[in-house]
């Protein structure tokens, strides 16, 4: 796989405050990379540094093997789609799409051809002569994406492009973006808060926290083998249950007074570890002592599935997802089991144990 983009020890400070602390990342050509992380972790800042809108304090950025760290945004071979669309309100859709090319002194006929091609891909041909003010939110978003396509960039940058749309439109635009990626085959970097967008669109998910990369991996890797408790708790909704446990000899830990079996680890007895269990992996039963015991706090019925909120004997909370079975009364005592392969274990520093 050839290289689409590379970040090398990229840092960013705003005055004395460093917000990106040395990020290393390699993105293959044509890969769809999604940045996720809590609000304020630096996703937008990182994306804007790639775009050239924010100066890089330290480190290098390469796009297509070329160092672009000090290049003007228009020279980097990137195009960006903003959360707020950022269309030029005084220009028609046609002029919006063609503006970049006209700035590059491309001949008029060629601009027209490219604009028509992009409009066709996004099915916005009937809108070409309107102003942005005369478009709906979804249509504006298409125009914003169209403006990016016309630039024929090596790398597309998206900063939460769908978060201003309503839920239904968001789903259809998500599918549209996936289709676009398939058709154009460009490298794409996509920032989002939305777990579903991240899981469905990404070839590679980058989980950020406080300006540091916590894990890079495919959606499956990040979901099934989180590198640490932060990633485990961040990816997935509802989040993975992270339970405090104490090591009791090889292959055994104590959680809230119940002994559970874990893969054998060489952690000393009495050490505190964290057990991770996804809600959908917990199998609920009413009478099976010997596994994890809990009392029901309340249930959320979502139609296809149900979330059962429970409390362990020592007060820790636990969420289980249940696809069938009758409703559970509050304060009912229940028992949980799981397949050993689905249990995750983290050391006292929150790092994944084998």
């Amino acid at each position: 796989m050839t290289e689409g983009m590379r970040l090398r020890q990229v840092r960013k400070s705003f005055g004395p405050l460093e917000v990106i602390h040395g990020v290393d990342l390699v993105v293959g050509e044509g890969e769809f990379v999604v940045f996720v992380g809590p609000s304020g972790c630096g996703k937008s800042t990182l994306l804007r540094m790639i775009a050239g809108l924010e100066e890089v304090t330290d480190g290098d950025i390469e796009i297509g093997g070329k160092d672009v760290t000090d290049l003007d945004p228009s020279q980097r071979g990137i195009a960006m789609v903003f959360q707020s669309y950022a269309l030029y309100p005084h220009m028609s859709v046609r002029e919006n799409l063609g503006f970049g090319l006209s700035m590059a002194n491309v001949p008029k006929a060629e601009i027209a051809a490219q604009v028509d091609a992009a409009a066709k891909i996004l099915k916005i041909e009937p809108l070409l002569d309107r102003r942005p003010g005369q478009l709906s939110g979804g249509q504006r978003q298409r125009v914003a994406i169209g403006r990016a396509i016309v630039r024929k960039p090596q790398v597309f940058l998206f900063d939460e492009p769908l978060s201003n749309l309503d839920a239904e439109l968001r789903v259809s635009m998500r599918i549209e973006i996936a289709r676009l990626h398939r058709e154009l085959g460009n490298t794409m970097v996509y920032v989002t808060h939305d777990q579903t967008e991240a899981m469905t669109l990404a070839d590679k998910i980058v989980v950020l926290r406080d300006g540091v990369i916590e894990q890079v991996g495919t959606p499956r890797e990040v979901y099934e083998h989180p590198a640490n408790t932060f990633v485990a708790g961040f990816i997935g909704s509802p989040r993975m249950n992270l339970l405090d446990a104490t090591v009791q000899g090889t292959g055994k830990v104590m959680v809230a007074g119940d002994e559970i079996e874990v893969p054998s680890i060489d952690t000393p007895n009495g050490e505190n570890v964290t057990v991770g269990l996804r809600p959908e992996h917990l199998v609920l039963s009413l009478a099976a002592p010997g596994t994890l015991q809990a009392t029901v706090d309340f249930c959320e019925y979502l139609g296809g599935t149900r979330y059962v909120y429970c409390q362990l004997a020592d007060g820790q909370n636990l969420i289980a997802e249940q696809r069938e079975g009758e409703d559970l009364a509050v304060n009912k005592v229940v028992y949980f089991a799981w397949k050993p392969s689905e249990l995750r274990l983290f050391n006292p520093h929150g790092i994944k144990l084998v």
């Binding site: 003007d72 945004p73 228009s74 707020s84 950022a86 269309l87 309100p89 590059a104 942005p132």
Partner: protein, 288 residues
Amino acid sequence: MSAVARHRRQRQKFWGGFGYHAFGIGAALFFFAPFAWTGLASLRTGSEAQQPPLPPWPTQGVSFDTYAVLDTFGAGIWQHTLNSALVALATVVLTVIVSLLAGYGFSRYRFPLKNVFFVLIIATLMIPFQSILTPLFIILAKLGLNNSLVGLVLVYVTLQLPFSVFMMRNAFDAVPREIEEAARIDGARDLKLLVRVLLPLVMPGVATVAIFAFLNSWNEFLAALILLSDNDKYTLPVLMTAVRAGRLGAINWGAVQAGVMVMTIPCLAVFLILQRYYMRGLMAGAVK
């Protein structure tokens, strides 16, 4: 039943609309009346112009005598109109250019003491300009610009700038940063960025600045009176005092009316031309 209700609703709508428009027309007439009065009065013949002002319209046939009389004052009305027009236009152009750049700078760049400078500029609005006329006069004299229209333009621009910079900074602050960033990604830089992308978006601000600069410099009297000493460099307001003072104690009211018309029409024209840039909702559809 529903037909009756619909009928009643239509009637209400008609009378509602009627009242709305009647009030609008009334208000428009109220503001138009002084112009009409002066305009009509200026068309009276020379002898009629000296008579009591009622009725205000010409009764002995329309004539342009009063305008001919007006032309006999000073260096001729064309010369003074040209003086005023040159001064006003130069003031507008310079004020718009400087405040556009300054407003952009204050809105978008970070530099030390930015807010201090901005407050200082705004604070000069608190100084009555009459109080600095003497130093201004001395400075212009040192620069060899006293008794020159260029000097007058510089004074007007200076007086106009604090308000204009403030206006333009607000106008640029209202332009979402993302639009500018999108334009930078599209390859628009510096002057191209300002002219092709930002200028259309701050046009309401520019129109406001231009209108104020025009009106203030076109109508300004005191500085022009003090800084200009040559008769044929007078701007219209200064000329008008000569007309108003009359000759040999006799005031030619017809010439005064004509002078008022000559001074008013360009103001109206400028306002009517620029007011369409006040269009609301220009920014609609840019973001969100």
